[in-house]
Symmetry: C2
Subunit: 330 residues, 2 copies
């Protein structure tokens, strides 16, 4: 058997997976992006770093791209999806806890009053995490979260949350990967929650999802080992914490970073401060009709300083209304 024949037998599936996006990319890799400045900037950047023999060429292992999740890859309004999940879990558990009717933050959450529940601060958050995100094995939690996110529909768009992802960003993820990039999520969201759907929704495997996390305990249940989720916060992955996590988990500075809020600006700053070609992009929520419109005054996903820094530092800003011709997958 010739080497080529052997390769075709053994590597055929992997080859097709690699080759097909490249073929598609030769047509239009970003069909849901209008032919405006952000699309042109993305394509110019990718062309620049992937051309061998030029000074700006970046070897494949260094093509690291990091993405915020909430508001960058999927919707975060009226509030974070993970908070909706926690409220659902509290309501489900409430039947066995009649005392919660008179006990904060549970009483407010059951009433759907997030603002009032949030008045309890970090202690309230820890109480909610304890009953919704802890006291079970990592594998049990993953099953619960995956089932919920595939079936639960959001109130406005009546779509299962797993389909509330941005079609243009899915195309961007595929386009970058087809050009040798490794795509990571670096989010303030809970890591176990995001991992429950990131591979299905974005094609991002669990080892490329970085988020906030709770403490874990390795223990035996009978003679079966398990990892128990403890009701204690291990790491909060926001602002400076995103840069620290990039070093801790990836160990290499990204060459491209994508976000949508002031929680992402350190990540974009760190990325663009590296040598050689760099790319930074902020998604600006400007489309009240098709999604939501918010920036400076929003509690969730506030974007204020980031817009100033984008102007000063020549980061790319996407106006969802003007630059995207589709928001969600069909």
């Amino acid at each position: 058997m010739s080497n080529l024949a052997r390769f075709l037998r053994t590597g055929a599936i992997a080859t097709l997976l690699v080759a097909l996006p490249l073929v598609a990319a030769a047509q239009d890799p970003l069909p849901s992006w209008n032919d405006t400045a952000p699309k042109k900037a993305i394509i110019a950047f990718v062309a620049r770093v992937t051309k061998p023999g030029t000074p700006d060429f970046v070897p494949v292992p260094q093509r690291i791209a990091t993405f915020d999740n909430d508001g960058t890859l999927w919707a975060e309004k009226p509030t974070y999806v993970q908070l909706e999940f926690a409220i659902d879990r509290v309501k489900l558990a409430a039947a066995a806890h009649p005392e919660w009717r008179n006990q904060e933050p549970f009483a407010s959450l059951i009433d759907g009053n997030i603002e009032r529940a949030a008045e309890g601060g970090e202690e309230a958050l820890t109480q909610v995490l304890a009953v919704t995100h802890a006291g079970m094995s990592t594998e049990s939690f993953e099953r619960i979260a995956r089932e919920w996110i595939r079936t639960k529909r959001d109130a406005r768009f009546k779509r299962p949350y797993i389909t509330l992802v941005y079609q243009p960003m899915l195309e961007l993820l595929n386009y970058l990967r087809a050009n040798g990039f490794k795509t990571f999520i670096v989010s303030a969201g809970g890591v176990e929650f995001m991992r429950a759907y990131a591979e299905e929704a974005y094609g991002i495997p669990p080892e490329q999802v970085i988020g906030s996390s709770g403490r874990l305990k390795y223990q035996m249940r009978g003679d079966v080992p398990e990892l128990l989720k403890l009701p204690a916060i291990d790491q909060v992955n926001d602002k400076d914490g995103k840069v620290v996590s990039i070093q801790k988990f990836i160990g290499r500075r990204p060459i491209a970073a994508f976000g949508n809020s002031d929680g992402d600006i350190q990540m974009l700053q760190w990325t663009t401060a590296g040598k050689g070609p760099r790319f930074a992009l902020l998604v600006h929520h400007t489309d009240e009709a098709r999604e939501w419109a918010y920036d400076k005054d929003s509690r969730v996903g506030m974007l204020s300083k980031g817009l100033d820094m984008a102007a000063e530092s020549h980061w790319t800003v996407v106006s969802m209304k003007d630059d995207w011709n589709a928001i969600f997958p069909k």
Copy 2:
């Protein structure tokens, strides 16, 4: 241009990188392994999980393999390489610190008396880490560690440390990767130290290196952002900590795990407790002539309970003397 022609142009290099190890594997993927039980067990396991259409087939994204580093991928005697590095750094800094002559643990380290320096326990370790692994940016540390490990020679074999890796394990890493496995280091060693050479020595990129770590601080030096290494321990990656880190960093249970000491047994236990085919291997240091011989009574790399568990659980045990026909690369 046909799709095939386009693929051959765009994907040619990646294709060759994937295909060549497969071609080599058709000959003998593990030439430095004798034709004894461990080699047969490895090859049988890989054949079993990679055959499509069989009940034991494991999809590529789930082919996660984790490796301890010291004593599993490279030598750890007479003491950990990273400790030799720290001693070298202390000696270098000692010129500017005459007071260290009368100050522990520095006085003992300068004398080369590790045992006495270790009497200071965790406080002594933190003091040593503070002057050898902190107070500089992550990028400065990486440069220092990389230069040292490429040039510093070990006392017995007179080889640069970066060549003190085990040839049979390099072949094993390549063999697994050629069969779709993603290879990770999960070690008690310092993560920044290992990342400084893991890609060059093992072909393992920084994002697949998990280890003990110190705290980091994101800060501006003038208008340039940097990550400062702080003199405080963030995470100790040993025993139970290895399993916790596997979940935290990889988020998926390995199907194969490789170690050499009692610090690795929880990782092997967690790996083999998963459903479907699993593989666990311990390297037993039995070759005084070509490397070192130690197990139950060794301070560094103690292997005692692990040998009992291997017998009970049918883990594979490699006797370096009997199962490997080469130790270091030529």
